[in-house]
């Protein structure tokens, strides 16, 4: 593609949702809720629309950043508004902007108080997260990274369940503690290179000691965000208390921020440390896959179960990255995209049930298929995607990472492959208890099947899950160059 229109698509993808969010806030009190919803929806659609050219004009063969924009921001410290994307970040900008539309639609009726603030929080967060994926300046990244905590904190703290304050604080403190370590690393890198440019940092020569300290600082920040075992316990609490939309964004996008950090910061900035400490990360990832798989089996709360399942699936992502082979890294990136669809769909499904029954306890359900057959069909598809069934998106990443793992080491492949059994066990056991069986009680008997709005967002996600499962080619295709470049960079190292 030679003639890219001279439009700053990337900046638009960041600022349209943020400015739109402020506009939504301006609609004020709940008597104008319809206006808030409408403006929010239009903003979300526009925000997604401007990301489509990013894919169309994306040159999969090109090494380096595309759609770059650079402006001086704080000249004194050499801090710039420098953004751009490559094959590692492209899909997350699209995914994030896309999920935002669904979140707005999902909250259309279910949120009735402080509608404007609710919608604004999601839109602003969406813009901030696009900023994280696009930022090429350390300070810019950090600002977006920290700022994105605030809307999510508010979403859980204001629209959440009974224990929302505890969950919100736990979430906030965990992630903040992690990112303080990262701040130190960023400042140190600035002191060494005199620059906040991430691409400069990629090239900066660093000793093994420096790399190690930086690596663990980043590990603290991103590990919490992913979340990796053993710093994962904030996630189930946060999910349980978050409103449906909050859970969707948290699972589909926010968790990806940490994983993305590994490939944008840890691996290229501290490549030798990454190679040296990869076994540690792999071990933690395998614990996440196996240990958390068992823990998920024991859950009585649907949201907790899916939250634990998320941790287990994200374990595949970190596992894939740190095997440092192309199958692993590409599989991990694909797993991130797929998890965006599948976890969003799972939480939306639970939201559909929660809206009707006001319970997330598995034991309160049973025989839902009798009263909600359409819903049951969608839920089945997403449950199967969650178990990684072929022809769904869930399969692609899991399969590729397992192939990469067997290539790396048979035993690691074997442990990773247990997810085939564990994932199916906890997902289908939940499905059986909730959906199958005779009508369990009079509440289930009174359930009404999904309406047009719910049908719409579930159908859209179902289409995504199936399309990606049947033809993942374009997803992987956009990544090859960047992944190969990353792995080449890592294996070259910085120590000579």
């Amino acid at each position: 593609m030679t003639d890219i229109p001279d439009i700053p698509f990337l900046s638009l993808a960041i600022w349209i949702p943020i400015l739109g969010g402020l506009l939504v806030l301006a609609t004020g009190p709940d008597r104008n809720a319809w206006m808030a919803r409408l403006v929010a929806l239009l903003t979300a659609i526009l925000g997604f629309a401007v990301t489509i050219p990013l894919y169309i004009y994306f040159d999969a063969a090109k090494v380096g950043m595309q759609f770059p924009e650079a402006r001086s921001w704080i000249a004194y410290f050499n801090i710039n508004y420098h953004i751009g994307i490559d094959g590692l970040s492209l899909w997350f900008v699209l995914l994030n902007s896309f999920i935002t539309i669904l979140v707005v639609i999902a909250g259309w009726q279910t949120v009735q108080n402080r509608v404007a603030q609710y919608m604004a929080a999601f839109l602003i967060m969406s813009g901030l997260m696009n900023g994280i994926f696009a930022a090429l300046d350390g300070v810019l990244f950090y600002v977006f990274f920290e700022a994105s905590l605030i809307p999510l904190y508010l979403i859980i703290g204001v629209w959440g369940g009974p224990n929302r304050v505890h969950a919100a604080i736990k979430f906030f403190l965990f992630t903040l503690a992690g990112s303080l370590a990262m701040l130190l690393a960023l400042l140190y890198l600035h002191s060494v290179t005199d620059s906040f440019d991430i691409l400069v940092w990629h090239r900066a020569p660093l000793s093994m000691v420096e790399q190690s300290l930086i690596f663990f600082a980043f590990l603290a920040a991103f590990g919490v965000k992913v979340p990796m075992w053993p710093v994962h316990t904030w996630l189930p609490d946060a999910h349980v208390e978050a409103p449906t939309g909050g859970s969707v964004v948290l699972a589909a996008i926010a968790l990806k921020l940490g994983a993305y950090g590994f490939v944008r910061f840890s691996l290229p900035i501290a490549p030798d440390a990454a190679v040296a400490y990869a076994p540690i990360v792999i071990a933690l990832s395998l614990i996440a896959v196996v240990y958390i798989g068992f823990v998920a089996l024991a859950q009585a709360d649907m949201k907790k179960l899916v939250a634990y399942s998320s941790i287990s699936h994200m374990g595949f992502v970190t596992l894939g990255f740190f095997m440092l082979n192309p199958l692993g890294v590409e599989g991990a990136l694909i797993q991130m995209i797929s998890h965006g669809f599948v976890s969003a769909a799972m939480f939306l499904c639970i939201g559909v049930l929660y809206d009707r029954m006001h319970s997330r306890q598995i034991e309160d359900y049973g025989g839902v298929v009798n009263t909600m057959p359409k819903f049951a069909a969608f839920f089945m598809l997403f449950a199967m995607a969650n178990c990684g069934l072929p022809a769904t998106s869930g399969f692609v990443g899991e399969f590729t990472v397992i192939l990469g793992a067997v290539q790396y080491n048979f035993w690691i492949g074997l442990l990773a492959a247990t997810t085939l059994i564990l994932g199916a066990a906890y997902t289908l056991w939940m499905y059986k208890r909730v959906v199958f069986g005779a009508v369990a009680n009079e509440h289930v008997a009174k359930l009404t099947d999904i309406g047009a709005r719910e049908f719409f967002f579930l159908a859209v996600l179902a289409a995504c899950v199936l399309a990606m499962g049947l033809y993942p080619f374009p997803f992987a295709d956009a990544m090859h160059t960047s992944v190969n470049e990353l792995l080449r960079h890592v294996s070259a190292g910085k120590l000579h």
């Binding site: 736990k170 053993p230 316990t233 240990y291 068992f294 823990v295 998920a296 089996l297 024991a298 859950q299 082979n325 192309p326 199958l327 692993g328 590409e330 599989g331 694909i334 025989g367 298929v369 009798n370 089945m380 199967m384 069934l389 072929p390 022809a391 399969f395 692609v396 399969f399 590729t400 397992i402 192939l403 990469g404 793992a405 067997v406 290539q407 080491n409 048979f410 035993w411 492949g413 074997l414 492959a417 247990t418 085939l420 059994i421 199916a424 066990a425 289908l428 056991w429 059986k432 959906v435 199958f436 069986g437 005779a438 049947l470 033809y471 993942p472 080619f473 997803f475 992987a476 090859h480």
Partner: protein, 676 residues
């Protein structure tokens, strides 16, 4: 129409049927649904016949349809491999599927899930065709899992029954255990050959033999084959992963015939035959296959003897016959395995559909103790079931005779480790098969009519569901015949498939044994190493089906089969009190069989219970007590403690602050003076 379009049509037509019947079932109605579904499968069948003729003329095809994904330098493709092995499977699958589709019109006539059922079985047909037509491991795995999914959906078709939704989850999970091994095998293949394309992998097989799995030092090819075979053990229900198949009888009978007898469960057999270029190079893997198969063939047969549910007898017989096929694979008689797969598909589908017809006649009572003397009331069902049973036990001349006898002969001729044990198992298995088959036959069709009586031993219905069958799904039918009621022959849509299946059950063997087994019909599709000459030696002494028939009349297997029939006749017709007497004498043995060797109990306690316990333990102790309790709450307590200690310094008394300040200045000064 060019051939490639035709290849594509075979899986796509049933898929289209499934989608239309599934998504628009309400709009097109019941008749619309079954017309669409049957049209799809019929189109696939006709296309398969055309492809068969084309392949017969010597044309094969191996090519990609589209590139699914590229990653890590590996091309993942979706494509077809059309050769003799494939086309035979396509014919079997589409034909049996077509019969089952037609039969379903009658069997599911009153079911509210009629359209859904048609959608599922068409989807199954699509998945199974994708599996057998694949030219690569990715698509094989796709088909593998997809048939598992449909099986899951169909076992749990009557989702209100607790037993059905237990059985379907169990089936899926046990299959997943197999798939776990299967995926590791595929992973090793990808890691060491850089490709998932069959042909490329086969071309590299000599390289795989000499390598080891890096890091653990196991011989690579043997590891690959055993991993792949673990997948086959799940899907083809070999001990110890067989536990799901008997429970799968919770599904409606048509799918028991299609999925859990004729086609899906043979996927593992097909896969190993397809992988013959790999398995042939590993003696250890073949021995493993042989021993597992032999154990399944005999010991699952025993269990058929103590079952009272008509479908479960047929289910255990399926397990046992799958064991025979696996044995054939183990002794490198791949073509015999596929041959038995084919004959078995016909006569086992016939037996299942016959059992289904009996069940319709008995108003959904499946307990054989309530049957007896049915031949008078259901003549077509009776006659076709008799033919199926005769084929199953290997009566000389019937299709089952040719395939089973060939397997026994091949085991006899083989010298691979474990073949002696296997030979004993398959011979003893012949007797057992004849015994339980005719036990069922006599109990159902002959002897005193026991139906229409008030049922005395309700509790003994045991695992079969009295719970819901009558109230929800039978729509006014009572469970079983009311006193005085007589069973009626089933309608034509039910009996026609029986007749159409009875024909190949009897005849297909004698027509096809020559070319299939000894004529090298499979050609390149199946590879047998020169080190395993069993089948080749047999070919030399084979002089046509007639000669084999004559020889069969006086052979040991036929004698054993006859003994089994006679014994069944003695026990269940002549002297019906005998079984009870024997049960008293061999109480322990009987209990062992009744409890299916305690496999289920063991899995329930150790694996299911253990996993739940472990999960709870890790959650409560690991997450809640250790990480949150000591880690998170601990650090928050630490902060509180630190705050409390530091707050002690903020007393608000000026003299304390002043004193601290002076002390501080003093310390700093000292420090500075001495250092400088």
């Amino acid at each position: 129409m060019n051939m490639q379009t035709l290849y594509l049509l075979v899986p796509i037509a049933p898929l289209a049927g499934a989608i239309i019947a599934g998504l628009f079932g309400k709009t097109i109605g019941r008749t619309g649904a079954h017309i669409v579904a049957i049209a799809g499968v019929l189109a696939a069948f006709i296309a398969s016949v055309l492809i068969f003729l084309d392949v017969q003329a010597g044309n094969t095809f191996n090519g990609a349809l589209y590139t699914w994904m590229q990653a890590g330098g590996i091309n993942f493709e979706i494509g077809f491999l059309i050769d003799k092995l494939t086309v035979l499977m396509m014919l079997v699958v589409t034909f049996v599927s077509l019969m089952v589709h037609i039969y379903t019109i009658g069997y599911m006539a009153d079911d509210p899930g009629y359209q859904r059922f048609f959608s599922y079985i068409s989807l199954f047909t699509f998945s199974m065709l994708m599996l057998v037509m694949s030219n690569n491991f990715l698509q094989l795995f796709f088909g593998w899992e997809a048939v598992g999914l449909v099986s899951y959906l169909l076992i749990g078709f009557w989702y209100e029954r607790p037993t059905a939704i237990y059985a379907n989850m169990k089936a899926f999970l046990v299959n997943r255990v197999g798939d776990f091994g299967f995926l590791l095998g595929i992973g090793l293949i990808a890691a060491y050959t850089g490709s998932l394309d069959y042909q490329t992998v086969f071309d590299n097989s000599q390289n795989l033999v000499v390598q080891e799995v890096s890091g653990i030092g196991w011989p690579l090819l043997t590891t690959i084959c055993i991993c792949l075979f673990i997948g086959a053990m799940g899907k083809s229900a070999q001990v110890p992963l067989h536990v799901w198949l008997p429970d799968s009888m919770e599904g409606p009978t048509p799918i028991s015939a299609l999925i859990h007898a004729a086609t899906m469960v043979t996927a593992g057999i097909f896969m190993v035959a397809r992988m013959s270029p790999l398995f042939e190079l590993s003696e250890a893997a073949l021995s493993f296959v042989l021993v597992i198969g032999a154990t399944t063939a005999l010991f699952m047969g025993f269990l058929g003897i103590v079952q009272n549910d008509i479908k479960r007898v047929v289910a255990y017989s399926t397990l046992s016959q799958l064991g025979y096929m696996t044995v054939a694979l183990g002794v490198s008689a791949y073509s015999a395995a596929v041959f038995h797969l084919m004959t078995h598909a016909f006569f086992k589908a016939l037996l299942f559909l016959g059992a289904g017809s009996v069940i319709i006649g008995m108003r959904h009572d499946q307990d054989m103790r309530n049957m007896g003397g049915l031949w008078k009331y259901m003549p077509i069902t009776w006659a076709t079931s008799l033919l199926g049973t005769l084929a199953l036990i290997g009566t000389p001349g019937f299709s089952g005779f040719y395939s089973k006898d060939s397997i026994i002969e091949a085991v006899h001729a083989s010298s691979i480790p474990g073949s002696d044990y296997a030979f004993f198992c398959v011979l003893a298995g012949v007797f057992v098969t004849a015994f339980y088959s005719f036990r069922m036959y006599f109990l159902v069709f002959h002897g005193k009519a026991r139906f229409g009586q008030p049922q005395g031993d309700e509790g003994e219905h045991g695992e079969h569901s009295e719970h819901s069958e009558h109230d929800e799904h039978d729509h006014g039918h009572s469970h079983g015949l009311a006193p005085g009621q007589k069973p009626k022959e089933s309608p034509l849509v039910v009996t026609l498939p029986l007749i159409l299946l009875a024909i190949p059950s009897v005849l297909i063997g004698l027509f096809t044994i020559g070319p299939l087994l000894f004529g090298g019909w499979f050609g390149e599709a199946i590879f047998v190493s020169d080190n395993h000459p069993a089948l080749k030696e047999m070919a030399e002494s084979f002089h046509g089906w007639g000669q084999m028939l004559l020889h069969g009349l006086i052979s040991m297997p036929s004698g054993l089969a006859l003994a089994g029939v006679v014994m069944a006749w003695i026990f269940y017709v002549m002297w019906p009190a005998a079984p009870a007497a024997i049960r008293r004498v061999f109480g322990v043995l009987h209990t062992l069989l009744e409890n299916k060797y305690y496999f289920d109990r063991f899995n329930e306690i150790v694996f299911a219970g253990g996993a739940r316990l472990l999960g709870k333990g890790l959650w409560k102790q690991g997450d809640q007590n250790l990480i949150d309790g000591i880690g998170v709450a601990g650090s928050s307590r630490l902060v509180t403690l630190a705050a409390r200690i530091t707050s002690l310094f903020q007393t608000g008394h000026l003299y304390q602050y002043a004193f601290t300040m002076i002390a501080g200045v003093f310390v700093l000064l000292t420090f500075w003076l001495f250092l400088a």
